[in-house]
Amino acid sequence: MDNAKAHKLKKNKKKEPPEDSGPSVLNGAGILINTLQDLEVDTIFGYPGGAVLPLYDKLFDNHDINHVLVRHEQAGTHAADGYARVTGKPGVVLATSGPGGTNTVTGIATAAMDSIPLVVFTGQVPTDLIGNDAFQEADIVGITRPITKHNYLVDDVNDLEQVIRKAFHVATSGRPGPVLVDLPKDMLKTEGHYSGLRKVSIPSYSPTEKGHFSQIKKAAELLSDAEKPLIYAGGGVVLGKAWNELTAMAERHNIPVTTTLMGLGGFPEGKPQALGMLGMHGTYTANMATTECDVLLAVGARFDDRVTGNLEGFSPHSKKIHIDIDPTNIGKNVAVEVPIVGDVKQVLPEIDEKMETPNTDKWWQVLNQWQEDHPLKVPETEDTIKPQQMIEAISDATNGDAIVATDVGQHQMWTAQHYTFNHPRSFLSSGGLGTMGYGFPAAMGAAFAHPDRTVVCITGDGGFQMTPYELSTAVEHEIPLKIAIMNNQCLGMVRQWQELFYDERYSHSILKKGNPDFVKLAESYGAVGLRATTPKEMDDILQQAMEINDKPVVMDFHVEEHENCYPMVPAGAALNEMVLEDK
């Protein structure tokens, strides 16, 4: 299928240096714009309001920074997050004071849990009104303290430039994360100095990147002697740009690799070493391998409870090696024999070089047998669409080359299982916080970053209804985003838990009665709406959708309502106690 044609938006043309690159006196808004340009920010997702009007006034005649007017600050923050996940550059958000700032909170928390670099600028009431309960005042620094890597309130316009530079440095270095900068209105209006000096100095902050030599040696020895080694790759592989290093090591030494949800795409699923995802909805082979392995190499992963299942039963026979740039992640949930604090991109090749290829022939026989006996099942039907079938059809229609964003729920797990991810930075999903309403705006943010790639959002009828208004933004910018709603007329994942663990008492999880006509909804925004209820129609509308390249398409796939997502490790059970299918 053709890639969607580049849609029309201000192309990221080569940046001119800011108007005045030397020292100069400007008002705060001018300093901010100059600094952003110097930091090569090309896109901001924002929403105006009184407190940030001085800045919007500057944006009126700035043609280098592409400001995207979103329809809600939450979606704007998710969009910036999507932009960051696909580019590796920090996503930038601009919101006004009070409600503007508080609307960004869900997006910031989502980014924080998944270590996504964001810089969020919020307006604030003028300095002399702070603390007076002034109109549209909210203590956004206080509100966001637990969900940011760091945050700043600017109280001297002469600090503004350094604060912005520090914010970008903190957001993108070490373990990345969101940073918020609160800008009182008077700071944007009064004049101060812009230096153009790029040096950032934060004496108390210096992430450890180089791994400890003797620990690396120990890791290499453990792996060389392993009989049943396993690599458990997390989001750190993607964030740390270490996919080539990981692939090289796994291939050279023929070590099996299982990825977390956040690690999807960090190891090409087409490779023979790929066992698929582990954890609550992981593959049989991945979960069994985790339980049976004798050396577990955790790379940029944090032993989330959705991955480990019951800690007592998690990989009980293995010696564990853990590489992570964030020392707090190491030894937090699971004790490890060899902790290595450092940048995975630097540490992996060092281990690779020092180790000898272990003999894994017997191990592979076991793994292959598991894979043969318990592959992921895709039920085929003629008249109704099975959700797994729908994901496979999308994977086929896009050759596994699309950027795929999901919401949260069954469709998310089925996407993780059945979409064949071959590229890093191509799977966007709220893994840590599990935020419904994330998928569509994040996909939109990704489309702004990569106008030439096919971007698909796979969502649920529940999740899509949390941020559908962004169709307005996508239509305005002629973004040819494909939105695939897995419409099971219910909050599927909730329904599944109620079926399995609450005696089929479907308390407030059925959406059927109030669901809108998604085709008409799309059309009312000026987007294209398509519907499929059979596999044949499914293939037809997918083909139609792929050919549209100047507006968003909403595909309403009516799937079987009662399908459950398996394998499933019930909460609190160990990984090898997974349930494989409906009883």
Partner: protein, 174 residues
């Protein structure tokens, strides 16, 4: 080769952490936020203004097993404004707390209270009819002991700081 899954449960122990941060209230809030959000406990905390140097020293006393203390130290270190975190527990260090105690002091009790005060090398800092205010510094045990001694006379008000601590540089006796 069944390795330990749960970190080895070591004994709970009292720890004194000395933390140097860049001077601002956001840093202090973040430090306290780490304790409340991660479920760590603070037994006492003291924060000294360091506006001039731009740095402040925070002394935190807490307790927990080794794994918890390790997490606390790492989490504190992760805060951008934190310059150094030192766990003084395994080093020799000097530590002081200050308490101000206002006790009932009838004419007949007054001299006895003043005697106790002297023995503890505490100081009477205010006298009024029927009341004495006393200042005492020392380690936690000494202050507890002093309070225990004057309690029977009737404590009207009591104010205690958290502990402040510094690593001892010279290990001989002073």
């Amino acid at each position: 080769m069944n390795t330990t899954q749960k970190p080895v449960q070591t004994k709970e122990q009292k720890h004194t952490l000395s933390v140097v941060v860049s001077y601002n209230l956001n840093a202090l809030s973040r430090i306290i936020g780490i304790f409340s959000s991660k479920g760590f406990e603070i037994d006492s905390i003291s924060f000294g203004s360091g506006k001039e140097s731009g740095l402040a020293r925070i002394t935190i006393t807490t307790h927990g097993d080794e794994q918890i203390i390790e997490q606390i130290t790492k989490q504190l270190h992760k805060i951008i404004d934190v310059v150094t975190v030192a766990d003084l527990t395994y080093e020799s260090f000097v530590e002081r707390e200050l308490a101000l105690v206002k006790v009932k002091a009838s004419n007949s009790a007054r001299s006895e209270i003043m005697q106790i005060t002297q023995v503890f090398r505490a100081k009477v800092i205010d006298i009024s009819p029927g009341k004495l205010s006393i200042e005492i510094t020392g380690n936690r045990d000494k202050i507890d002991a002093f309070i225990g001694m004057v309690r029977p006379f009737g404590i009207i008000e009591l104010a205690r700081t958290g502990s402040v601590a510094l690593k001892r540089e010279f290990n001989g006796s002073v």
